[in-house]
């Protein structure tokens, strides 16, 4: 068996196993993965044993190690930039879409507040207004008014918080990747 045939077989077996595992998870049958995964591994190993040309070539190992290192560098640098940009949204522009609150003094001495939501990135004005709500007495707001206020605040922060979360996830992923690299580096450093 040629190496390309072996790789093709491995890919087909892996796809079949993945499909079976996915289907069994959806169907609630947890016995299939227990059988399918070891069976798939056995088939791949059997195919590997039939390969009649060299599997581990030093030049190929060298090329792979260089390619892996370059990939790591690109992913770490690109990921770090993306993580910082995404996280900066939380720090620099906390509210997206734009939400404003205006306080008014009523005739009876109480304070009312109008909360308004404007289109993201626009100048607040009647044309860019998405919705608004007025809390008649700020010091005695009822439950519905309090919930409305909370919704506005939550929605105002949510988009950038999601970006910040994505940035944090990317940052943590990069840290995990670098930690894994470090562990393997130390392992091979001790081995050789």
């Amino acid at each position: 068996m040629k190496r390309i045939t072996y790789l093709t077989c491995s890919l087909i077996v892996a796809c079949m196993v993945a499909a079976m595992v996915g289907w069994s998870m959806a169907a609630g049958n947890f016995l299939i993965p227990v059988v399918a995964i070891p069976l798939g591994i056995i088939v791949i190993l059997a195919c590997r044993a039939q390969v009649d040309i060299v599997m581990a070539d030093e030049r190929e190992n060298r090329i792979r190690s260089k390619a892996a290192l370059r990939t790591l560098e690109v992913v770490v640098i690109g990921g770090a930039i993306a993580a910082i940009i995404l996280y900066s949204f939380v720090v620099s522009i906390p509210l997206t879409p734009i939400i404003t609150g205006k306080l008014f003094l009523n005739d009876d001495g109480t304070q009312s507040m109008t909360i308004a939501e404007y289109k993201p990135g626009s100048v607040p004005g009647p044309q860019t207004l998405v919705r608004s709500n007025t809390i008649k007495n700020l010091n005695a707001m009822n439950e519905t008014e309090a919930m409305t206020y909370c919704t506005y605040v939550r929605e105002g922060f949510s988009e950038n918080e999601n970006r910040g979360l994505a940035g944090t996830v990317i940052g943590c992923g990069l840290a995990a990747l670098l930690a894994t690299f470090g562990v393997f580096y130390l392992y091979y450093n001790r081995k050789y």
Binding site: I53, V54, R59, N61, R62
Partner: protein, 74 residues
Amino acid sequence: MRNRIRVLRAEHDMTQEQLAELVGVTRNTIISMEKNKYCPSLKLAYRIARLFGVGIDDVFTYEEEIDGPSGDDE
């Protein structure tokens, strides 16, 4: 690193595929070595030299200015 693999191979009437199989690498590695694009590991260099029944110096000549990737890290 310069080498005489192509010459030695011709002398022994051997194809790249045959040499690759005998020393346990792929044909691409032999091609790269013959083009002086790849420096083999010491292990592979000795294997090739022994296969042709010559010393390692008779196959490989070290030259500073030629700088290809090395397989010595294996």
